[in-house]
């Protein structure tokens, strides 16, 4: 199994509003609900995105961190907002796939949101606090087997990517450890660095700086490959090799850089118009 999650996707409350949109959208500030705490990977991406979209939209995008219940509180808030394009939700696999399978919600993930844009993917890494007495995956499994039920692993709620990843790891390695739910990746990282929690399955984007600094250890990638292999060339798209990003050499990938001013043709097939307006604003940010 490969657990390669999408880190972020931008959606908006949805209803039959195709004909209700004023031509001058957006004419006032837009709210972007991030259903995770400030400082986590989704929040960080949201702040970069909102800043980048501001010039082309001509309006400010205000980030609102609405956390709790496996992200369903924030997503629910977005679902209840007026379907006018002025309330967006920036979520990830946990908020728009995993939690929907477990929590009883007042919204339908497929019916109540208008998709805007899928943004990024990331493989899940298994990381541990720096003083765990293991230096590779084999030693980690041996340590966990020698201490059944004693180690603790952070999740960002039941059914989150971190939780599903941890369950899969347990199943495949015959290990047993406890899960501790957090409101988001940022507080989980704080406790992992502080040594209050032992393990976590987490995205590379939120862990690699700590791994590089020696504040936590990385053991495995829960994916067949850490990133797509970089083709030598595929015009008109440029491929830029990124640096290998961890001491264990796990995550080495490439970033696809679409050419400017060449939006994919499929965008013109979608409606209503304001997701397109938002998408057209968000898309060029990745080309920088």
């Amino acid at each position: 199994m490969t657990l390669r999650i999408f880190v972020a996707a931008l959606v908006a409350a949805f209803a039959n509003v195709a004909a209700a949109q004023p031509q001058e959208y957006p004419s006032r500030p837009i709210s972007m609900i991030v259903p995770f705490p400030a400082g986590g990977p989704t929040d960080t991406l949201g702040r970069l995105l909102s800043e980048g979209m501001r010039p082309s939209l001509g309006q400010t995008i205000i980030i609102e961190n609405v956390t709790g219940a496996g992200s369903t509180i924030g997503v629910g808030r977005a679902a209840q907002a007026a379907p006018d394009g002025y309330t967006l939700a920036l979520g990830n696999w946990t908020s728009f796939v995993g939690s929907g399978a477990l929590y009883r919600t007042s919204y339908d993930l497929l019916r109540d949101f208008a998709p805007v844009s899928l943004l990024t993917f990331a493989p899940m890494l298994i990381v541990a606090k720096s003083d765990v007495p293991a230096n590779n995956a084999k030693e980690l499994i041996a340590w966990l087997k020698a201490n059944p039920g004693k180690a603790s692993a952070a999740t960002v709620g039941a059914g989150s990517a971190a939780h599903v990843c941890g369950l899969y790891f347990q199943d495949k390695t015959g290990t047993d450890f406890q899960f501790v739910p957090y409101r988001g990746g940022a507080p989980a990282m704080q406790d992992l660095v502080g040594g209050q929690i032992d393990l976590m399955c987490a995205e590379a984007s939120q862990t690699l700086s700590y791994v590089r600094a020696g504040k936590m250890k990385a053991f495995a990638v829960m994916a067949n490959t850490a990133g797509r292999p970089c083709p030598t060339s595929r015009p008109p798209t440029r491929w830029v090799r990124q640096e290998c990003t961890s001491r264990s050499g796990m995550a080495c990938g490439c970033r696809r850089v679409p050419p400017r001013r060449s939006l994919p043709s499929s965008m013109s097939r979608s409606a209503p118009p304001w997701p397109i307006r938002l998408y057209a604003s968000a898309w060029p940010i990745w080309a920088r």
Partner: protein, 38 residues
């Protein structure tokens, strides 16, 4: 890793989102994960 240009469109996200739910919900529900609701 940045999503491909087609996946970045509203239609691309819609198709991807639906496929992810169809792939993962049976696995998650089958894992008998309990949600702490108190």
């Amino acid at each position: 890793v940045i999503a491909t240009p087609d996946q970045q469109t509203p239609a691309g996200l819609a198709a991807f989102h639906k496929a992810e739910i169809e792939k993962w919900w049976p696995i998650i529900k089958g894992a008998n994960i309990q949600v702490d609701t108190h």
